[in-house]
Every structure is written in C-alpha cells, then in structure tokens.
C-alpha cells in the first residue's frame, strides 16, 4: 500500500514538474510582452563617435536620419507644422463632451474650465502691459489651474505666464500676480504695490484687509457666473509664428528662471503620445491622476501640462491631487477611475503599498507574480487593492541627482557630488507592478531645464538587474523620442571613459528650455561651446551615467 502511494506521489510530482517545465519553455516564450532581443536593443546608436565622447543615442523609434518628435505634425496647406498650445486646447475642446478635471476632490467639466480660463485670459491680456503674469497659486485648485490655462492661452497674445515657486520678495518684471489667499496677501507686507493687479485666488482662506487696495481683486470677482463654453477658436497665422512664441517661464526654488517655447510643449506631448506601445495607446477612457507632494510641488507647475493636455487631447479626464504629508495611503485618495497614475518615485505613499501587511495567499500571489514578471510576463494577479484595478500604467518621476547644478549651469560642489541617489531597485519596481497590477514607467526629469522626461523606461521592461548594478546605477530606459543624447568625458570624473560608454550627459532637442537671466545664458553659451559647441548640445552638468549595451541610460547613484 505504501509502495503504491509513493509511486503515485512520485508520478504526480514528476508530471507536475514536467508540465511546469514544458509550460516554462513553451508558454513563457509565447506570453512575453517583449522579447529579450528587443529589450537588449532599445536605442539607435550612431555608427561613429568623437574622441572623448560616446556615439549619439536615440530612441529606437527615431532612427538616425529621421526627425525627432518635434510636434503634432498638423497640416498647413501642403506643409506640416508642429502646432502650439492653441491647437492642443482647441482640439481638447472639440472632444470635451464628458471629460473633466478633478481639482481638490471636485470634478469640473473641461467646458467649464474653458469658459473660466477664456474669461481670465481676456482680463489678463487687457490689463498686462509688460506681458508678464506671475502665478504663485497652487495649480491643484480650480483658481490656480484656470489661471495657468489662461496664462498659456494668453501666451499666444504675447503675455507670458511665469510659474513662481513662491511669492517674489523683490520687485520683478510682472504686471499681474496671482496669489493663493488673503493670508499670503498679508505676508506680502505691502509688496502688492509692485504690481498693477494682484489676484487673490481663494477668497475664503484668511481674512481680507479692512480696506481692499484698488489693485487687488479676487478670482471670483473676475470669473463670476461663468457658464460652460465648448468653443476655443484658434486660427494659426499664415507665417506660423505662434509655434515659436514663448509658452511660459518657470522659476525654480533657487530663483533661477527658464523659458520654454510652444515647440517644447508640442514636442513633449508628441513624445508622450509615442511612448505608448501598440494596443496600449491613450484613449478617451483614460483618466490621469497626478499626485503632487510637498517635495515635488515646485516643478509640477511646468511639468504637469504634458501629460494632462495629452490625456485631455484624447478625450480623457484628469485629476490633480495634492497629497498632504499626513496622508498615509494612496488608495483612499485617488479617483477610482484612474488608469494612469503619476507620482514621485520616492513618495512615502508608495512605501505604504510596499510595506502593507498581507495574508499568506497574497504573499503567494506576489511571489508568483514576481517570478512571472522577471520572465517578462505581466500579470495583475497580485493586485493589492481594488482601488488600483483600473490603473494600467504607473509613471514614477525622478529628478537628476543634482537638478540645481543643471539649472544653474554650474558644476556641483564635491559635497553634492558624493551624495548618493536613493532610487528604487528594479526588484522593488516589480513589486510595485505586482501590487498595483499595472505597468510601470520610470521617468528621469531635469525639471527646470527640460520639458517632459529626458529618458523613460519601456512600458514592457520588467527586467530585474543584478544587485551589483542596482546598487550603483539607476535605470532610466532609452532617451525620450524628443531628444538625442551622448556622454562626454569630463575632468571632474576622470574615471569615466567614453570607450566604455560612460561620461556626463549631453542632450539635444526641442524640449530644452532657455535660461532667462542674461548672465546664466552667457554662462550656458560658454559651457555649450566647451562641450562641442555649434552643434546644439546642452551638457547636463553633474549628470553622470552610462549607456548600457541595451541602449538604456543608467545614472550613477
């Protein structure tokens, strides 16, 4: 009897093992999202390189000789043009039947936002003399959001919105300043006199002064009783001059300003659209949620537009969510319709998902999901919370090691250079994929110099890199389709060799901003000249990394 049982158990075990082995050989190869050969060739590499430089790397979808993603490719007679914000917003309005933008937990139809923004834009254009609108109001609230859209609309009429990280402490070239509350107004301590008009966005926050100065108005006073409006008429001029106009200026926390043109916006939008693989494209069903936190609120006022406008352009909806530091979990605050989620890579909200205690069955599911993901097979079977079941892609934004050095065009000090970057390991990223049940894309930003990501990982790249690589490098995937890049040898890191595809990052493309301050612009031109000037390469000072044999960019931690 014992012999029969042993025989049976052995037979069953052998059959199970043989079946799984057969499955692993046959099924895995046919179920992979992307073949390892494709993962090992994610970039087009130039055939030649200069001495002390690597070859030029481009995204696999833009081969050498083909133009980078420069815009929307709109027809203008027999020519193609790149487009601008006016084209994007007029097309958004033509698809604005049901989509909305959620701000501070409340949904506002795009038609309503259009009506308010048009009203504000008209007001701004009428009252601005020098053509500068300062925005120091949070964009995740309706007033700040609509003033920002109004500013972008006004940029077509030569009024430039300036996204400020805080209320200016010295007099600046601004006609109109939008601030968040009466509390901020009191803190301005009389500096409201510097401006022609000060717009107080939230008139319920703080006590208004006993006598409101004549140049101070509330947002509500300007936009009162605006109904929905489905129309935003935009007719491009025949000389196509709007495409090259300034879109906005962003001021960094270090008081350095960078300007971006409409070309940067449309290039970035175009690159984002192209980043989605076939059968996973953006659609009207998508709902984008952008989580803004204390650590990231400074750069989102300029970086948020690419994804929001692109989603609205496809008829989808969007949420801008400000997560207070006391917020403990993500599932309780995001809209359950969310299909695309953008969040900072180091967000504690992600830690709460990773650290949540789970039952034995869930642990088992997670283990299986991780095994499958590491083989290149996506599975949402270990989804940890039903609030995430609609999410199909999680965008983890990270910034370069020293964003200040890149923005200031100054080599970082030794102290900063030795500061290690705390990025998540590829195993942790797969855990997030499994627990959220979605694909995950890691994006590398230089938030005050480049609109949109510099590089982002492939939608289907679930590789787990060896610990020796993960501990020294952060994986950011191939360069964005709107940029091309190379690495150059630099005296500050002589150990990095271009022959081993290592060095300091230099980029070229239309999403790069331009320093506003004359002395910084002068310094930038000198530095550009030093690193192969004349060919339009911008060195990202202090950004050291290497290009893998897979064509991906890896930044040293």
């Amino acid at each position: 009897m014992l012999y029969v049982s042993l025989k049976l158990i052995t037979t069953i075990s052998l059959v199970v093992v043989a079946s799984v082995w057969f499955g692993s050989k046959l099924v895995i190869n046919s179920r992979r999202d992307l073949h390892p050969i494709a993962l090992n060739g994610q970039a087009n590499v130039g055939p030649t390189r200069k001495e002390k430089e690597t070859a030029v790397y481009r995204n696999f979808t833009v081969p050498p000789g083909f133009p980078l993603s420069t815009g929307l490719g709109l027809s203008m007679g027999y020519k193609l043009r790149n487009g601008n914000f006016g084209d994007i917003w007029s097309n958004i309005m033509s698809l604005s039947a049901e989509n909305f933008v959620e701000l501070s937990g409340q949904e506002y139809s795009v038609k309503k936002i259009n009506a308010i923004s048009k009203c504000l834009s008209k007001y701004v254009v009428q009252h601005s003399e020098s053509g500068r609108l300062g925005i120091a109001a949070p964009i995740f609230e309706l007033p700040g959001f609509t003033i920002s859209i109004a500013g972008l609309m006004s940029s077509l009429n030569d009024v430039i919105p300036v996204f400020l990280s805080s209320v200016p402490r010295s007099k600046q070239e601004l006609d109109i300043l939008a601030i968040d509350s009466w509390t901020t107004f009191h803190q301005m301590n009389g500096s409201h006199k510097w401006y022609k008009i000060v717009i107080v966005c939230n008139d319920h926050s703080g006590q208004p002064p006993q006598t409101i100065p004549p140049n101070v108005v509330t947002w509500k006073d300007i936009v009162s009783n605006q109904e929905e409006d489905t129309v935003f008429e935009y007719e491009p001029p025949k000389d196509n001059s709007d495409d090259t106009k300034l879109l906005a200026i962003v001021s960094s926390p270090w008081n350095l300003s960078t300007s971006f043109s409409h070309m940067a916006l449309v290039s970035s939008v175009s690159a984002f659209i192209k980043s989605f693989p076939m059968d996973n494209e953006l659609s009207g069903k998508d709902h984008l949620t952008v989580v803004i936190e204390e650590a990231t609120k400074y750069y989102y006022p300029i970086q948020v537009w690419t994804k929001i406008l692109t989603t609205l352009l496809h008829g989808g909806s969007a949420s801008l969510l400000y997560a207070e530091p006391k917020q403990v979990d993500l599932q309780s605050c995001i809209n359950e319709k969310t299909s695309l989620l953008q969040i900072d890579s180091s967000s504690p909200l992600l830690d709460s998902i990773l650290q949540s205690s789970t039952a034995v069955l869930q642990e088992l599911k997670l283990s299986w999901a991780l095994s499958l993901l590491s083989e290149g097979i996506f599975t949402p079977s270990a989804l940890s919370c039903s609030a995430f079941h609609n999410i199909r892609c999680l965008f983890l934004s990270t910034t370069v090691l020293d964003a200040r050095a890149v923005t200031a065009m100054e080599m970082p000090s030794r102290k900063v250079q030795t500061k290690a970057k705390n990025s998540r390991s590829t195993l942790t990223l797969n855990k997030l994929r499994a627990l959220i049940g979605s694909r995950l894309v890691v994006e590398l930003y230089s938030p005050f110099m480049v609109m949109g990501p510099i590089a982002c990982t492939n939608f289907f790249d679930y590789r787990i890199l060896p610990d020796s690589v993960d501990s020294r490098l952060s994986h950011y995937g191939p360069i964005s389709t709107s940029l091309e890049a190379k690495l150059v040898e630099d005296e500050h890191r002589p150990e990095l060799q271009s022959s081993k595809r290592q060095g300091m990052l230099c980029i070229r493309g239309f999403t790069i901003g331009k320093p506003v301050e004359p002395e910084r612009l002068e310094r930038a031109l000198q530095i550009v000249e030093k690193f192969d000037g004349g060919e339009g390469w911008m060195p990202m000072l202090g950004v050291y990394g290497l290009f893998g044999k897979d064509g991906c960019f890896y930044e040293f931690k």
Binding site: V20, K50, E51, S371, S374, I464, S468, K549
Partner: protein
C-alpha cells in the same frame, strides 16, 4: 528549470548585466556588436574597409574629408551606380565625372594630390564637396599613412 524553481519556491530571474560594470557580458549577440568608430584620422588602408561590403558602413573621402554615406547605400553600396567610390578617396572621380576604377588609388599607393586637375574640375569637385557636407555627416579626415602612402 530556473523558472520552475522560482515559481514553486519563490524567486526571480535576474537579467544579465547590460552595463558592463560587473564584467559580465549581457548577451552573445550584443557582445558581438561592433563599437562605434572614433571620428578622427583615417588612412587609405583603414578607410578601405568601409566599402559597404567588408563592412556594412560606407565611408567616402572627398578632398581629405571623410563622410559617412551609409544612408546613401542605394548609390554607394554594392551594386549601386557609384559603388566604386565606397571606401576610397573619390575626389578625382567626382571632379572628372568618371566612375571608372582608374580614377581611384589603391590603399597602398601614394594619395592623389589632385594637382593636375583643371579649374573646371576643381569647381565641380567643390560642388560635390558642398553636396556631401549638406547631406552626410563628416566623420574625420583622410591622411597619408607613414610608410605606406608617403
């Protein structure tokens, strides 16, 4: 069997190192991939290899400048109308509008100094040079190899 083991006992497959930092080779196929050529000085001997046949890339020299004409494979590649020029100094051929082999120098012969070309030929050659400069990336210069060409 690694997947079976990982699936049953919990574990993940770690990919090979694509960065080369650990000294491991990422993949047999990529390991064989040729590294980009360093732009700079070419000798007729080193240029010859890039004729679209011995090497996929096509380099052509004109008036001492080397251009990467790989994009114009239909013209300069094997079976193309100007395939003779690939991997050579094509100055004399372009100047005299001749595609014959006798307009080209072998890699072990002294370099052509073009001193016997007429003014009209030189004008024509300059026109070609401008055309190549606008169309193809210049990747270096052609210089005589000591002991071989001088």
């Amino acid at each position: 069997m690694s997947f079976v083991k990982n699936f049953l006992f919990g574990g993940v497959k770690t990919s090979e190192d694509p960065t080369g930092l650990t000294g491991e080779v990422a993949d047999n196929q990529t390991a064989k991939t040729e590294e980009p050529i360093v732009e700079g000085k070419f000798f007729p001997r080193t240029l010859y290899k890039y004729n679209g046949h011995d090497d996929e890339k096509i380099f052509i020299a004109i008036k001492g400048k080397v251009f990467d004409c790989s994009q114009g494979r239909q013209f300069y590649g094997p079976s193309g109308p100007y395939s003779n020029f690939a991997g050579h100094d094509a100055s004399r051929g372009l100047a005299t509008n001749s595609f014959e082999l006798d307009t080209l120098r072998h890699w072990d012969q002294p370099m052509d100094d073009l001193s016997d070309l007429t003014g009209q030929d030189m004008e024509s050659l300059n026109g070609w040079l401008e055309h190549f400069q606008n169309k193809y990336p210049c990747i270096g210069e052609l210089v005589p190899e000591p002991g071989v060409n001088i």
